[in-house]
Symmetry: C2
Subunit: 178 residues, 2 copies
Amino acid sequence: MDAAVFIATSLDGFIARPDGSLDWLNDAAAGGDDYGFAAFMDSVDALVMGRNTFEFVLTTGAWAYGETPVIVLTHRELVLPAGLPGRVETRNASPEALAKELSARDITSVYVDGGSTIQSFIRAGLVNRIIITRIPILIGSGIPLFGALDTDLQLELVRVDSYPNSWTQVEYAVVDTR
Amino acid sequence: MDAAVFIATSLDGFIARPDGSLDWLNDAAAGGDDYGFAAFMDSVDALVMGRNTFEFVLTTGAWAYGETPVIVLTHRELVLPAGLPGRVETRNASPEALAKELSARDITSVYVDGGSTIQSFIRAGLVNRIIITRIPILIGSGIPLFGALDTDLQLELVRVDSYPNSWTQVEYAVVDTR
């Protein structure tokens, strides 16, 4: 199973302010470009996200995932609200166990989202593609994209793009050294 | 006075491992390209660095600054070793006070180096150019390039370049909103 990250960060590496807010990102996003999001969504069979990210998504009132299955990782029971616009399942599983289950279901490519979920999939060696849209702002503190690791992780640059609003996007492939 | 940062970081935003080591950077640097360093040095009149960075530079046995004056910021007395290859002064001064002194000496463009020195110059609103060479590796922990801020700092992308070894380099101008 392939796992990919597609996320925006501040130049100082945060995916949200300490309270989870994305105002620094929304303000700058007025351009209307989707920064490759639709094409990226077409490249995955399912999403995996943490409960916090899922609950944040619900507060936005928007559903960007269409009919693509969304698997919400949670350690506590999560009663899904009625009338969800998409296909949502919940799991209490490790990245490894979930990857095994999804592979058995012929889900070969997943989009991993949310700070702690991304970090746990990277630590488990399951992420092989990372696409970062970098917003040209320093916010000073927040929820970091990356976290502690047991060993270094080497990547290869696939491409780098820039946009007229000073955003950049880099895509890396993880070098599999196991 | 203009102040610029020219520095390499890991993809997770560290300029060194927790113990200061740069092995993750040296290993990858075998290409021989100087990544614009000589041209950047030509664009500055002086360097300002913290004592830790200066002492690290001395341990490398290499002096990359030619005859460009180097000002070492330190709160404790620093006896300069004899036979230094370059022009070195020490100061115990705030970024603001130093900027004022250097401006009076007709030093109009400085290269600010070292983690805490960079952060203090950014916090003081004195940095207007940031050039980051990004190494495609996650090291998990270390000395971060950026630190806490009182307010957001907005930047504009000047350019982005990539190298055959998967390194990228981005240059930003700080948007002066004061």
